[in-house]
């Protein structure tokens, strides 16, 4: 039995790895003390016993976003905690530089989809755990896809992807359907530092609420880059932001293209020589233009463990949740600090007032705007209206007002479709108001607040 599980040395190729088809007896006994006994630390909604264990092992569906450094840890932790319906999304392929810490991948996997490779590995090691991979971008999937999960856990390296995931989950929440609340557990690491947070969309602070707390990316004054470089980074920035467009006006820089990186490295090195600046290396060039931060395997392990604990508690109520942000600092000793991020009332994602409004398809846009202005519960004066795809009517600047004025005469049935989300901005609103449009012949002036 033991030999079957020693597979770290058997790493020459996927076909040679041992496969286990069944759990050994008592494999999940470690869950029993936690799930079958009451305890003073358990969440008030906790019911010890089999139904809770069954929910965890047979029903709970978890989405793991990212199968990289954090993702590998997360997938392993979830699978070994009893989750058996795991989906994983990642748009990347395995790179040789991942192999030092992304332990679900082997040298023979280089070039293959991370999501698919990781899913296969987990399923081979943990019988009856089903991992469904998707090799692609999170943006490829719509809300109906995300609605199937109980919880989403993110191990991403990009602010952009986090913002998208957060905004999507917040928008999915519908107060009439408690099932639409999808908790988001987000982990992040940067060298020896990391963070874990729990976001209950619309209930607790969301990712966007605290965007202003992010350390801004280092930006060098363009005049320093152009004239008085002092650091190797200045030379690399010069090559990428000023020299590349000059040398290749038709071609945009692709930081994943090794030839482009080589060119940047050579150009930056020449400049560094001219200004007598030491320290331009290929890896620094890569680091500056791709904004790479060194990854530490143990930081990933710490943060992934914290995140998976939260997912386990969410799924079982066996403990109180993290409220709501934990930071881990391992660069100067070991220190963690937990605090609660507050909701930002002006948050662009979760702080916007949302209304579901009935509108008549035969009203003109102008009539509708007049009705909105006349509505005392909205109290706006000069609203601008847009959908994601079009400018319906913009009060300013003048060029946009003129371009959108003809729309005022169109009827809403021509401009809008059922369910469209119209963003209204106005000087009287902190940021915006979102209106979910319901086209109906029986539209009156009344509306339902969400």
């Amino acid at each position: 039995m033991d030999n079957e599980w020693v597979c770290i040395t058997a790493s020459t190729g996927s076909s040679q790895r041992p496969v286990a088809s069944e759990d050994w007896p008592g494999r999940w006994d470690h869950l029993r003390p936690v799930l079958h006994r009451p305890g003073p630390m358990a969440h008030e909604g906790f019911t010890p016993g089999t139904p809770t264990e069954q929910f965890l092992m047979e029903q709970c569906k978890v989405l793991v976003v990212g199968a990289g450094g954090l993702g590998c840890e997360i997938l392993k932790n979830l699978a070994l905690s009893g989750f058996r319906d795991i989906h994983v999304i990642d748009m990347d392929t395995v790179d040789v530089s991942n192999l030092n810490r992304q332990f679900l991948f082997r040298a023979t996997d280089v070039g293959k989809s991370k999501a698919e490779t990781a899913a296969e590995f987990i399923m081979r090691r943990v019988p009856r755990c089903k991992v469904t991979p998707y090799f692609g971008k999170i943006q490829d999937k719509d809300m109906a896809y995300y609605a199937q999960f109980n919880v989403v856990i993110c191990g991403l390296d990009s602010v952009e992807a986090r913002r998208w995931m957060n905004a999507t989950l917040v928008q999915m929440f519908d107060s009439d359907s408690p099932e639409s609340l999808k908790p988001l557990v987000d982990g992040g690491t940067e060298g020896f530092r990391g963070q874990a947070r729990v976001i209950l969309p619309t209930i607790s602070s969301c990712y966007e609420c605290s965007m202003e707390m992010l350390t801004p990316q280092t930006v060098y004054p363009v005049c320093t880059i152009a004239n008085t470089p002092r650091l190797p980074e200045h030379c690399i920035e010069w090559a990428s932001t000023l020299e590349w467009p000059r040398a290749f006006p038709e071609q945009s820089l692709d930081t994943d293209n090794p030839e482009h990186l080589q060119w940047l490295f050579r150009t930056a090195s020449e400049r560094a020589r001219r200004f007598n600046i030491p320290g331009v290396t290929f890896s620094l060039t890569q680091g500056v233009v791709k904004n790479i931060i060194p990854a530490i395997a143990s930081t990933n392990a710490v943060i992934a463990a914290a995140c998976c604990n939260e997912v386990f508690k969410l799924a079982t109520s066996s403990g109180t949740l993290l409220d709501n942000y934990m930071m881990y600092m391992g660069n100067d000793g070991v220190y963690t600090h937990t605090f609660e991020y507050e909701k930002n009332p002006n948050c662009l994602v979760c702080g916007q007032m949302q209304l579901a409004l009935d509108v008549h398809p035969m009203w003109t846009l102008e009539e509708w705007i007049d009705r909105l202005i006349a509505d005392p519960s909205i109290s706006i004066g000069k609203p601008s209206l847009r959908t994601p795809a079009r400018s319906l009517y913009m009060q300013a600047p003048r060029a946009l007002e003129e371009a959108t004025r003809p729309n005022l005469a169109y009827v809403l049935g021509e401009l809008l479709q059922e369910g469209d989300v119209v963003t209204v901005t106005d000087a009287a609103l902190p940021v915006s108001l979102e209106i979910v449009v319901h086209l109906t012949e029986s539209a009156a002036t009344a509306h339902n607040k969400q």
Binding site: A147, E160, K382, T423, A427
Partner: protein, 179 residues
Amino acid sequence: MIKIWSMKKEAAETDRKKPKQSAAQIRVQKDMGELDDLPKTIKMHFPDPEDILNFELTITPDEGIYRGGRFKFTFKIDGNYPHKAPKVQCTQKIYHPNIDLEGNVCLNILREDWKPVLNLHSVIIGLQFLFLEPNADDPLNKEAAEDLRSNCERFKRHVIDSMRGGYVNSERFDNVLVA
């Protein structure tokens, strides 16, 4: 599990919500609303009015050394706005200490001093300021900056020559005069 979930396995909801505008789009829409009292010297143009993240701006200074010229810029705003500044580029070749021959602009609030509390209005006013008070201390076009610092009268003559589409130091500039 936490109380919001029922113990029963329920079918995933199928009623699809439609996407709403991104945070960047919402913020730009809000910013646009505050551009209702731009000075007469500033005009905006939207090649595609449905796309508010990409537009053009012309500045026609009515005082200062650059009076009589019309200067064109493109604005490109990406999904990271307002956490990242908009990308602003001058589309003409002009003689200016803070704008290089490729149209890159050296304005602190477009780079190192950008803050999410700033908005499109601040950037537009900042750009106009560059034409009223060209600044020799943050040069992007070093020759022009040196020119301004050492001999202001000669610099003015060079600006006028360049705006006519003439040569300055054997470099040919674009004609930017208001017709």
